[in-house]
């Protein structure tokens, strides 16, 4: 969790907004630092997190999480974190008997199926416990990332449907949050990716877009972050709809500053 980003988004772990879909996208740069931020943020906010990690292994997130002050191992052991490690479990699909449904069942199907098994996995993971006492604050679904599902053969409409159902269940019914990362292909014209990105953009409440600098790589400024609030929670609040900041990623922190105000330049 980066305190400066919390300030920009006007949230703290103690008071998180509920029922929101946050879209993270990156263009020409790597936006995975946002995923690490939200993972540690929601773990610190005492929410139950279901993390569908299709890109990196568990240990990768664990190491970065330790730098940010959360331990994924402890969280997984006490039940706060449900971790679907896509890289490991993808292999299990082929060695499991076919009757048992697997979240990544679509890998086995010849034509692009739907993501209903994955949705059922998420539903199972984040279902509020019937014990009555609220152990965790609100359920959170984190997906890293959705573009790889397109590469694996799932159609853009199927991914949109999956997020639609997650939104209906997690956001609307259980008042939780959904955070998803999508890569923006940029110049490479990928129609499916554009449909996915724009479709999610229309559904989301907050869009964080990490872009590389237009002028190229720089040692002191790693990129630019655009924040767009789409549906303000209070209709009367007239806050800024769009903000742009530049950032530099350090070892344990990401520092944000206004455009052109990098400490290296001033």
């Amino acid at each position: 969790m980066f305190p400066e980003l919390n300030n920009l988004l006007n949230t703290t772990p103690d008071q998180t907004e509920q029922g929101k879909l946050t879209l993270l996208c990156d263009a020409k740069t790597d936006g995975s630092f946002l995923v690490h931020h939200f993972l540690s943020f929601y773990l610190k906010a005492n929410c139950k997190v279901c993390f569908v990690a299709l890109i990196q292994s568990f240990s990768h997130y664990n190491i970065v999480g330790q730098k940010l002050g959360v331990s994924l191992t402890t969280a997984r052991e006490c039940g706060q974190l449900v971790f679907l490690e896509g890289l490991k479990s993808a292999v299990d699909v082929f060695f499991r008997p076919q009757e048992e449904p697997h979240p990544l069942q679509f890998l086995r199907e010849a034509n692009s199926g739907n993501l209903q098994p994955l949705y059922e996995f998420v539903q199972e993971a984040l279902k509020p416990m019937d014990s009555g006492e609220a152990a965790w604050r609100c359920p959170v679904l984190l997906v890293d990332d959705l573009s790889v599902l397109l590469s694996l053969g799932v159609g853009a409409v199927a991914v949109l449907d999956f997020i639609h159902y997650c939104r209906a269940t997690v956001c609307r019914e259980w008042k939780g949050n959904v955070v998803a990362l999508v890569h923006d292909s940029g110049d490479a014209e990928d129609e499916e990716n554009d449909i996915l990105l724009n479709g999610l953009g229309h559904q989301s409440h907050l869009i964080l877009r990490a872009e590389g600098l237009a002028t190229g790589f720089c040692k002191d400024v790693h990129g630019q972050l655009r924040i767009l609030w789409r549906r303000p929670s209070e209709p009367t609040a007239q806050r800024d709809r769009s903000l742009t900041y530049q950032y530099k990623i350090q070892d344990k922190n990401v520092s944000f500053f206004a455009k052109g105000m990098s400490p290296a330049v001033l």
């Binding site: 209906a168 609307r172 479709g199 229309h202 869009i207 009367t236 769009s242």
Partner: protein
């Protein structure tokens, strides 16, 4: 340094003007006067004024003088009485003064104090324009005409008709515009003339005379009416195209609210937002008119609880076509993009066509009942093909964009058998989903300030001369250019024997020259 000019002596009041005439005042001369002099001047003036009777009102500086005079002495008592009907001592305010200045029929303040008003009432109070040029507004309940006869229409000032208005000065006001007169100052001038001329006669019954609102007010309110109503006026399919940055759901909800307030029943096929989120912001009487068909919770029947509409989205859409509820109805599709992604484009377009032309199918529907279909479309999600098809199906197409935090709608109207018309409107949606029109985006401040240094004339301080003297200019003008074929040159060429010999070249080849006419380059050692 030149010595300062001698200070002018104090100007004598009546030095430059003949006795008996009003001395002219110039603004600058008021400065050096001192109080004593003013008093001296004042008594002198008072003596002069009693003798002359110009009709022109004197300018400032003389109010103090007239306090002792009877009202109207400055313009002659007879004339003044005729205009104002007598008035009290020149005072501002005071109940007695107000009553004396008021209309003789009602106790309101006379119009002559205020030359123009601006309508502040909401547009629902406007009556439809009748044949007479003035429309009555509730703020005015007394209109009196001064004139020999009462004209059925107010002509543009010719004739002795005139207008005097009594209106409540506190509660809003009206603006009078005489037909054919657009310029406000002309209107004021007309009113002034009109008030001066004529006598008071009885007004006709109030219902017959109407006062139209001014051009600006009428335009503004008409724009508000037109924006939402004209979007709904054509009937058929209204397509709202939005983007990620400029969302269109609030405009859709504003249109739904307008339809619901007009008494129509609204069916909403909701695919993208839940019912609670959609109904948020509407008050209860509007919510009672909304029927929400929920395709959000489980459109594809993944949960298999049996709650979903059987047949999926297509069946839900077709069910809307088959409703038998009489009366005008509005169908809102939120969103068409979702339907387009899940249904084949041709099926969707055929269903939409059936939906929007429903009244022509049923024989018993009156022509006033239209089916409004409002469709929200996210234009980045689709290619040009489906977008073009839906656009051609639509009678009204609204494309949302904006600049600098201000949303704008570009509306394309496709009226039957007329050319499509465009209109661009800047607007904002208020929290209760009513529309507010804006003038435009706030002007961006200049990024660079104007140059502080005034640009210098570069032709000063040159080491060469850029200007021509008179002789040089004449020589320049009379010069004939060598390759210009003027008449003199033509004559010279045609008559060469007039003393100008054409030039010849005389060449004597020496021993080493080997002139070969056929190969002129023969002597080159190539």
């Amino acid at each position: 340094m030149t010595p300062a000019p001698p200070a002018p002596g104090p100007p004598r009041p009546s030095s430059a003007s003949p006795p008996g005439a009003a001395p002219r005042h110039r603004e600058g001369e008021r400065g050096p006067r001192v109080a004593g002099e003013a008093a001296e001047r004042g008594t002198e003036r008072a003596a002069q004024k009693a003798t002359h009777d110009e009709g022109k009102a004197q300018r400032n500086g003389e109010l103090g003088d007239r306090r002792g005079q009877p009202a109207g002495a400055h313009m002659g008592g007879e004339w003044h009485r005729r205009i104002r009907g007598g008035c009290g001592p020149r005072q501002v305010g005071g109940a007695s003064a107000a009553r004396k200045r008021g209309c003789s029929r009602c106790s309101w303040i006379s119009h002559s104090d205020r030359r123009h008003f601006t309508a502040q009432r909401p547009p629902s109070f406007f009556l439809p324009p009748s044949s007479s040029p003035l429309t009555l507004l509730p703020v005015v309940t007394c209109i009196r005409f001064t004139g020999a006869e009462v004209p059925p229409t107010l002509s543009s000032g010719r004739g002795a008709s005139s207008l005097r208005l009594c209106t409540r000065a506190q509660e809003g006001s009206i603006r009078v515009s005489l037909p054919g007169i657009v310029n406000l100052s002309t209107t004021h001038a007309r009113l002034r003339q009109v008030l001066v001329v004529g006598e008071i006669v009885d007004a006709p019954p109030l219902g017959q005379w109407v006062v139209t609102p001014s051009e600006g007010v009428r335009r503004g309110t008409r724009r508000i009416l037109e924006m939402l109503e004209s979007l709904l006026a054509l009937g058929g399919l209204v397509l709202l195209r939005d983007s990620v940055e400029w969302e269109g759901r609030s405009l859709l909800k504003a249109l739904i609210k307008k339809s619901a307030l007009c008494g129509e029943q609204v069916h909403i096929l909701g695919c993208e937002v839940s019912e609670e989120e959609f109904r948020e912001g509407f008050d209860s009487n509007i919510n009672s008119r909304l029927v929400y068909h929920d395709l959000f919770r489980d459109p594809l029947n993944w949960s298999e609880t049996g709650e979903t509409l059987p047949g999926g989205p297509l069946e839900a859409l077709r069910a809307l076509c088959r409703r038998t509820h009489p009366g005008p109805v509005t169908i809102a599709l939120d969103s068409l993009s979702w339907l387009l992604l899940h249904l084949p484009c041709t099926t969707l377009c055929q269903t939409l066509h059936t939906l929007s032309h429903q009244d022509s199918c049923r024989g018993d529907s009156s022509p006033g009942e239209q089916v409004h279909v409002l469709g929200l479309l996210h234009e980045e999600l689709h290619g040009p093909g489906p977008l073009g098809v839906l656009s051609s199906l639509a009678q009204t197409e609204v494309t949302l964009s904006g600049a600098m935090g201000q949303a704008s709608a570009h509306v394309l109207y496709r009226r039957p058998q007329q050319r499509p018309t465009h209109q661009t409107q800047w607007f904002s949606i208020l929290p209760d989903f009513s529309l507010e029109l804006q003038g435009g985006p706030p002007l961006e401040p200049q990024p660079y300030p104007d140059p502080r240094v005034p640009s210098m004339d570069p032709t000063t301080h040159l080491t060469f001369n850029l200007r021509l003297s008179k002789k040089e200019r004449e020589a320049k003008d009379s010069l004939t250019l060598p390759f210009q074929f003027s008449s003199e040159k033509q004559q010279a060429l045609l008559c060469p024997g007039l003393g100008q010999a054409t030039s010849h070249i005389f060449y004597e080849p020496d021993a080493y020259d080997d002139l070969d006419q056929e190969d002129p380059d023969d002597d080159l050692d190539v």
